[in-house]
Amino acid sequence: MNKVIKYVIIDILRNKIVVAYTIFLFIISFSVFSLEDNTAKGLLSLLNLILFIVPLVSIIFSTIYIYNSSEFIELLLSQPLKRKQIWLSLFSGLSVSMAFAYLIGTGIPLLIFEPSELGIIMVIIGCLLSIIFVAIAMLAAVSTRDKAKGIGVAILLWLYFALIFDGLVLFLLFQFEDYPLEKVMMLISAFNPIDLSRILILMQLDVSALMGYTGAVFKDFFGTGIGFIVALLTLLLWVYIPLLLSLRKFKRKDL
């Protein structure tokens, strides 16, 4: 299995897209911090980067990679290897390289300019988001044989998590204005990894504004150690469940 992971990682590196992605993240993160006169504003720009670019690159690259390595997968299947092993190696290789790219590209500047709790949380969350979207990409890729369709599904999924979901939430908020929605909102946020990540970072970033009544409800949950751990576990579930589903499909798939 390790051999397969190693091969996948070498293959990804040879591909050079991930290297370009790392450099891109690095340049953007550095310039964001050096252009703005205060780090707070830099952090805000970086937040958008983490919530927008990282999932997008992660999901699209992984989907395309899975489709492109279909021949390689077939080759591996002819060897005495379990399907589970092959699929998990692919996942590990992809997530290690995506998370590593993020760690170097954004993690280093982040920890240089903001060596605080907030900086560390942003690094952890960025890595988790990379891995979550690799898992989602694998689910999208295994669902359909058609490459164009698969990539389309991946993009749609990303669009859903990044934009449409929030729109729906806003719509719900105004439809059910008269009801106390604070607790429900916390539950709903668990259904979107991007939202959940954003809220975790928000807890550190906008403390003053969040001390208002509604904010205090969120803060009382996510701001505490237990809430934070629950949120992180939820994010891990977001890796586990799509991966499990995709694995099931892959096992039964007629290649």
């Binding site: 958008n48 934009l163 806003l170 954003r198 003053s208 969120f218």
Partner: protein, 408 residues
């Protein structure tokens, strides 16, 4: 005849005696010394613990504590009651006053007199701290008041003034009371260099108190910040408002305030820096708003409020409002969120800045929407709103935003 009268006056002046109170002195209790004293005498109290029950000062005396003698109220009594003009009370430590909501016992209570000075005292665990009713020209200076109230109804105010005039309250430190400084019907007074922190309700609370000045005070971490209501002619200069956190907590709450000046103050890390309701003809200049949730919440009921030459840094929302009617002006401020340009190099931006974001309007209507803050969806909505304002008040804008922060 005139000479005779004069010499008589001089004679009485010269008679001013010094009485000593202490274990080894002629008087063992302060009350006894007061009974044997005449107007204008000085009583010096040696260190020690005195159980005087309720010490009533009914003559114009000077009471000086040497090495901070302790007056203990045994949780039953009002410790000191001042019922004469021209009393100086200095250098004592007062502790454990009684608690009663009918009579409001205080550490020191001043009744209907003038020219009283209370200075350099330490008050510990008193119900009300220093309470003045119907006083004139009194000075409360360099006292330190500490209480440890748990519930608002179980504790009184630190410095409480009711129906007073020309008061001077300077250099006191107040914590753990209900309101740090409380004014009702107090006029022409000066409140300066006080430090009011960790009080249960307001750091400073005043109503119907016209023409007062508040200079160089610090209000920090109070339950609900500072509230000023139903008053005109307020001057607030060089004060600091810090860390007042909570939904109903404001750095400064202005309700029905008119003809007032708010200059050179610092508002840092409050949920709401300034909240204005029904304020009119107020002038805000050279204040600094830093890291607040909302720097200013200005309700549509305000008019002729001018906000000019202030610095806004790192606030989550710069301005919030509840309607589209704007009768106030925002001009020549520095906003760190301003994204415009300055082509003619006159140090002011060429396009106006709109300090109200669409999302702050959404939150005003629907507070749980806070959970969507800083999401991409919301940033997109904000961007479109900036181009074509629909929800936000169209004429709430700074026409001449500064490109560089003012040095304050």
């Amino acid at each position: 005849m005139l000479i005779l009268l004069f010499s008589f006056l001089l004679f009485t002046e010269a008679r001013a005696a010094i009485l000593k109170v202490g274990l080894h002195d002629s008087f063992h209790t302060i009350q006894a010394a007061i009974e044997h004293s005449n107007t204008g005498d000085t009583i010096i109290v040696e260190s020690g613990i005195y159980y005087e029950h309720n010490l009533v000062i009914n003559k114009s005396l000077t009471l000086l504590g040497k090495n901070q003698p302790i007056l203990d109220g045994e949780h039953k009594f009002e410790i000191v009651s001042i019922k004469a003009n021209r009393v100086l009370f200095d250098g004592f430590k007062l502790r454990h006053s009684g608690i009663a909501t009918m009579t409001d016992p205080a550490g020191i209570k001043i009744y209907n007199v003038r020219n009283v000075t209370i200075s350099n005292n330490v008050l510990d665990d008193t119900f009300f701290g220093i309470y003045t009713q119907n006083g004139k020209c009194c000075t409360i200076k360099n006292n330190s008041l500490k209480a440890s109230g748990k519930e608002e109804q179980e504790i009184g105010n630190g410095i409480h003034c009711w129906k007073c005039d020309s008061m001077q309250i300077t250099g006191n430190s107040i914590s753990g009371h209900r309101d740090g400084i409380y004014f009702e019907f107090v006029t022409n007074s000066l409140i300066s260099k006080n430090n009011s922190f960790g009080n249960l309700r307001y750091g400073l609370h005043f109503m119907f108190s016209n023409n007062d000045s508040y200079i160089s005070n610090i209000f920090k971490n109070n339950g609900a910040g500072v509230a000023v209501m139903f008053t005109k002619g307020v001057k607030m200069i060089n004060n600091t408002f810090e860390q007042n956190w909570g939904d109903a907590s404001y750095g400064l709450l202005l309700k029905e305030i008119s003809d007032s000046y708010i200059l050179n103050n610092k508002f840092t890390e409050n949920t709401t820096g300034i909240y204005m309701e029904g304020a009119s003809r107020c002038h805000m200049q050279k204040n600094e708003f830093k890291n607040n949730g909302w720097a200013i919440k200005i309700q549509a009921s305000c008019m002729d409020v001018t906000v000019t030459q202030n610095n806004f840094f790192g606030n989550t929302f710069d301005v919030g409002t509840n309607g589209t009617l704007v009768l106030n002006s925002f001009n020549s401020n520095y906003w760190d969120k301003y994204q415009g340009y300055d082509l003619n190099k006159d140090k002011t931006g060429d396009v106006p800045y709109r300090p109200i974001s669409m999302f702050s309007m959404i939150i005003e209507k629907n507070p749980p929407a806070m959970i969507l803050f800083r999401s991409i969806m919301v940033s997109l909505l904000d961007k479109t709103e900036k181009l074509i304002p629909t929800l936000t008040p169209e004429n709430l804008k700074d026409e001449t935003p500064l490109m560089k922060p003012l040095s304050l």
